[in-house]
């Protein structure tokens, strides 16, 4: 095994690169997580069967649990030398994966003119977590943004215009307070808005809030955070001050936001576009989809999973992986995956396909998230990503729980993250 791999590695030096290109890998394995409902394993198996028919190359898709499980599984397998050739993992994990030294950049695999065109074909917002050191490390696959879902019936009931979702912070707070409903005994029967503040999600929501005042949370290299910037503090203060009249005091958890929304316990939620198909199937009331507001105008954050390529694969396998990635992110497939999952299709070309055009015509909400991509920022992504997320989330929760003021809390978060990230500077 070792001999063969070493030989393959040496080939480009010994022979012309064209010879290496000519040998194609006939079998590839990749891991992918599923974070939305539906028979998506069957859909993915179908894509790979089609690919085999078209090209003769076998691609084994391995369902790997949720995003966290998939990351653990891929890293464990790669360390044992049996890893996948490529995988769908969180876009935000780029720096951590680089630190683990298991990624190979697209530039190193080799992009010809067509390949470069392909990389440029995606929405720029979805490439926001893909670049570092002048290289491209991943391409978008199942991507989302934070958007607002609102109960139109509740809007009408509260005397608000159901077609005009608030666009700025002041309007948002006012609407949330108006929508909160109490019964005779003063018990709240419906909250205006719920936003996720639990671990693993708080940093995402907060990335959008920071972007709403025009503040980034980290630099592109993933080595610095800006948690104690005055605007970051302003964003957290705004979040805290939504309670107790517009949102419940304390922490609302991501997994219960949609059940709460569906049951009418809250009139607005900020959630992922990946939830659209689910809510559409289950909501018993007319609901609207809108961009989340901003201090002055709507701003949001992107999320979801990218395709990463791994270093341990041979040159032929890397090239074959890249070819499959190009095939599966082609407009028709991207459109199909978007319709079946609710994620945003990764390229503008996908929205020009007949399938997606027809879908959007019948369900205009599907295009709302796409329209807010120009005002979306990359999500929090640094070295030691999960540790930094935890540092930030702990402080956000302390503020939401009323134990700390936003200023000192975020100063603590910044101090801790500077300490963790010092070694990567």
């Amino acid at each position: 095994m070792l001999g063969r791999r070493a030989l393959l590695g040496a080939l480009p030096v010994l022979a012309a690169p064209a010879i290496v290109r000519a040998q194609t890998a006939q079998s590839l394995t990749f891991y992918y997580p599923i974070a939305v409902g539906g028979p998506l394993q069957a859909v993915m198996d179908g894509y790979c069967a089609d690919y085999k028919k078209e090209t003769g190359v076998t691609v084994n898709p391995v369902y790997a649990g949720n995003y966290g499980d998939a990351l653990t599984k891929a890293q464990t397998a790669i360390k044992a030398g049996q890893g996948p050739h490529f995988a769908v993992l969180l876009a935000a994990e780029m720096h951590s994966l680089q630190d683990a030294d298991i990624l190979v950049s697209l530039d190193e695999i080799g992009l010809d003119a067509d390949g470069k065109k392909w990389v440029d074909s995606f929405y720029p917002a979805f490439m926001a977590n893909s670049h570092v050191g002048g290289k491209t490390w991943s391409v978008p696959f199942q991507r989302s943004t934070l958007i607002a879902y609102y109960n139109k019936q509740a809007f009408s009931e509260a005397g608000l215009d159901p077609e005009a979702f608030p666009k700025d912070w002041a309007g948002m707070s006012k609407a949330a307070q108006t929508l909160t409903k109490q019964d005779g005994s003063g018990r709240v029967t419906r909250w205006g808005i719920k936003i996720a503040g639990d671990l693993g999600n708080a940093q995402w929501t907060f990335g959008a809030l920071a972007n709403q005042v025009g503040q980034k949370l980290m630099n592109e290299a993933g080595t610095e955070t800006y948690f104690d910037a005055p605007k970051t503090v302003e964003a957290l203060t705004y979040w805290r001050d939504l309670a107790p009249r517009g949102t419940p005091p304390g922490i609302s958890a991501w997994p219960v936001l949609s059940p709460d929304f569906l049951e009418g316990n809250t009139a607005i939620i900020w959630h992922t576009t990946g939830n659209l198909t689910n809510l559409r199937g289950k909501a018993k009331f007319p609901f609207g989809v809108a961009g989340v507001p901003g201090k002055d105008s709507p701003h949001t954050v992107v999320g979801g999973g990218n395709l990463y390529f791994f270093k341990h694969a041979s040159a032929a396998e890397r090239t074959a992986s890249l070819r499959f990635a190009q095939w599966i992110s082609a407009p028709e497939r991207a459109a199909d995956w978007s319709i079946k999952t609710g994620y945003i299709a990764s390229s503008p070309a996908a929205y020009d396909t007949p399938a997606l055009k027809q879908y959007v015509a019948g369900f205009p909400a599907a295009a709302v998230a796409r329209d807010f991509l120009p005002v979306a920022t990359g999500e929090l992504s640094t070295f030691e990503n999960q540790r930094i997320q935890k540092v930030l989330t702990d402080q956000i929760q302390a503020v939401l729980n009323g134990q700390k003021e936003p200023g000192p809390a975020l100063a603590d978060a910044q101090r801790e993250s500077t300490r963790v990230l010092r070694q990567f500077l």
Partner: protein
């Protein structure tokens, strides 16, 4: 009499607290999702959730895999732990205490720490993505050895001697004298082992890649669709389906299990 009454009431209360999640799962599973958090007696009944859950993953295959896995682990643990426990309980050899201490050390190591190391070994053996591969790290059990050793030590030496005088060999003594007397311990340990491996999630997820090897728990994770929140009704239906065989087995053999636990001293 009065304390008895208090004790009974307390037992019922504890029993109720214990069974509540199960009752809730049952409630959520047989009603439409919108009633998942509204306890209304008028809520319509439905089998829809079970149908959705059943269709979402190849559960019969997963059930078979889980069954093979727990059986394999249990049989191997019994076969491997029994002679080891006998050796530690009754045989004299230099370094016995040291070796036993090393075995006990295994109890202190969290299995999760060994994920990468175990995976690497399996990769060398070519056992990744096989049921044997999931089972392998658990076949030799320090807990099983310890438990059986304690039980074997309580077997009167006279019985051992008598069997020896009758001309029984070493294996015959273990099989005819020790194993029958330790039956409650085997049952109790078996229950602990089966329920642990029935529920194990992270390791099987990491080491398996295909439907033909994955156990139920990995199949269940399809329902933890984090991007859209949890559908309590469907997840409850799926949970009931996957835990039903264990629950039924426990109800059927309840008396034996309870007695075994009393005698074996595991509580």
């Amino acid at each position: 009499m009065k304390t008895n009454w208090v004790l009974t009431a307390a037992s019922w209360l504890l029993g109720f607290l214990w069974v509540m999640p199960l009752l809730y799962a049952l409630w959520a599973a047989i009603h439409p999702s919108e009633y998942a958090t509204h306890l209304s007696l008028l809520a319509p009944w439905t089998g829809h959730n079970f149908a959705v859950a059943w269709a979402a993953a190849p559960f019969p295959r997963y059930l078979l895999n889980t069954f093979i896995l727990v059986t394999l682990v249990l049989v191997a643990q019994f076969v491997l732990c029994t002679p080891a426990a006998y050796a530690f309980a009754r045989m004299r050899f230099p370094g016995r205490e040291v070796v036993f201490a090393i075995v006990l050390l295994q109890l202190m190591v969290m299995p999760d720490v060994l994920l990468v190391a175990n995976y690497t070994s399996l990769a060398h053996l070519g056992l990744v993505d096989s049921i044997l591969g999931i089972a392998l790290p658990y076949l030799g059990s320090a807990f099983g050895i310890f438990l059986l050793r304690q039980t074997f030590r309580q077997v009167p030496q006279e019985l051992d001697d008598a069997a020896r005088l009758e001309g029984s060999g070493l294996l015959a003594i273990i099989w005819r004298v020790y194993v029958p007397l330790a039956r409650p311990t085997y049952v109790a340990y078996g229950l602990v082992s089966v329920s642990y491996h029935w529920n194990n999630f992270l390791w099987p997820l990491i080491v398996t890649n295909s439907v033909s090897t994955r156990p139920l728990t990995v199949g269940l994770s399809v329902f933890a669709s984090t991007d859209q929140g949890v559908d309590w009704s469907v997840i409850s239906a799926a949970t009931l389906m996957t835990s039903a065989p264990l629950l039924l087995a426990f109800l059927l053999f309840q008396r034996q299990f309870v007695q075994s636990f009393m005698r074996a001293g595991i509580r």
